[in-house]
Symmetry: C2
Subunit: 254 residues, 2 copies
DNA sequence: CGCTCTGTCCCAGATGTTTGAACAACTGTT
DNA sequence: AACAGTTGTTCAAACATCTGGGACAGAGCG
């Protein structure tokens, strides 16, 4: 699965290294970037000026920054996902009715990408924004997705990305993961009990197409003090499942 | 302004040509892309496999598609714009209160990029999504922005992109543009009377920072049959201006 | 089964990329 | 006002890399 290109175009790799660095540094000058990447500054300058010419990067008085043209590509990529178009209004409703933060996640390259995030009136402030990529096994959303993949696919993903945990409660070996996924299949929903972010709980449900293939997952997340007891174990799971079912119906007839 | 790189990295250019083609074709195979770009398919294959390895492109049973990693970069680029963070809730409110489509636009590389778009309950369906780039002189939003730029900057933009109109009512020479911009400055708001899209009208207001520099514009747009008479000339302009003023206040104190 | 599509691989030649060094343009300090 | 220490930018030679034709395997189809 983790294919490595036989004949990679190194300049293309470098191009994205430059862009990634620009993102990590939150904008930077030529010299700073060159030091960060350990590449001669004339080389960095060549890339930056090319990227600027192509309008993928913008130079704001001496500081190069990631340009909005990526928003064009990104919005397009999201628009192309059937799930987004169909699930968005339902997830908006989910956020409104629960007052919490509601999410849509899909798998790509073995990781989870947040497609959308709707805020209810009491929604927690989470730093991660749309587009953020997370390891699948560390979130309820990801577990909901993994639970409905073939064993081979799960194996491939674990082989590629490992099971490195971000917090204490995390899953750390394959047996634990399998147990967790069995739980998810049995209950129909996945839980996240402060596994990725402290104080944050989450309830997620998978979204399957008419061929029972997993196409993504939706969730609500919120603070532990509001996510407890019956609300956490009964009320919210039921709600999330109901919304997931509506989405599945709409996916089938479209 | 239209700087051309002295020592451009051609492979970087090609990389984005490939991505652009992938977008235009809405996903494609190696051969199809090669024909479209008039490049040998082995070369295209090198780029695609590199892009896939870097996770910027995804291969769904034989068809390469633009990947969600661009959503990561795009969402980041948008998040970096102060205007987006501040204006979003206000524009949401604008959409809700008017029931129409409300927008945020900023200038980049002499063109307009839609940062955000909020839908009221009666909002028209417009194909353009977030990230779409438009010539500034063809929209109310763009005119609101141009009206508050220095003459030199306007000249530079016109030199670079011309005044090619997309529809009949469009501005087609520099004198007409200057007249239109003077109008905008006088009234405080800009109008679009089916200039870009038939049957669609638009009211836009500029957003300035504390130094009176233009940082973007907001608008409401809707069908001609709802945008007429007092509502089009008085009510909506006042509303949009009010929201723009609130945003300006928040921009200043942040 | 054979035909025609794919996508993938390989390697030599041509081309583009890399690189340090030199330069110009700023910034802030003395 | 001159200076030292920045920065971004340019250039051309050396060489690493990309290009591109051709060959190959596999899928799909009649």
């Amino acid at each position: 699965m983790a294919k490595t290109a036989q004949n990679p175009v190194k300049s293309a790799e470098t191009t994205f290294e430059v862009l990634d660095a620009l993102k990590d540094l939150d904008g930077a000058g030529v010299t700073e970037l060159a030091q960060h990447l350990d590449i001669p500054k004339s080389t960095v300058h060549n890339y930056l000026s090319t990227l600027e010419q192509e309008e993928y990067v913008v130079n704001r008085d001496g500081v190069y920054e990631v340009g909005l043209r990526f928003l064009e590509l990104g919005a397009y990529a999201r628009h192309r996902e059937k799930l987004f178009e169909i699930a968005k209004p339902e997830v908006d409703r989910l956020a409104e009715e629960t007052g919490e933060l509601a999410n849509i996640l899909v798998e790509e390259h073995g990781r989870g990408s947040y497609l959308y995030r709707a805020r209810g009136d009491k929604a927690v402030q989470v730093k991660a924004h749309v587009g953020t990529r997370v390891p699948l096994h560390t979130t309820a959303l990801g577990k909901a997705i993994l639970a409905h993949m073939s064993t081979e696919r799960v194996d491939a993903i674990v082989d590629r990305h490992g099971l490195g945990g971000e917090a204490s409660n995390s899953i750390s070996n394959r047996a634990e993961l399998e147990q967790a996924l069995a739980d998810v299949r049995e209950r129909g929903v996945a839980f996240d009990d402060e596994e990725r972010l402290e104080g944050l709980r989450c309830v997620a449900a998978p979204v399957l197409n008419h061929d029972d293939e997993i196409i993504g997952a939706i969730s609500v997340s919120g603070p532990t003090n509001r996510f407890r007891g019956d609300r956490f174990r009964e009320e919210l799971p039921q709600k999330v499942l109901e919304v997931a079912n509506v989405i599945e119906l709409n996916v089938t007839y479209s």
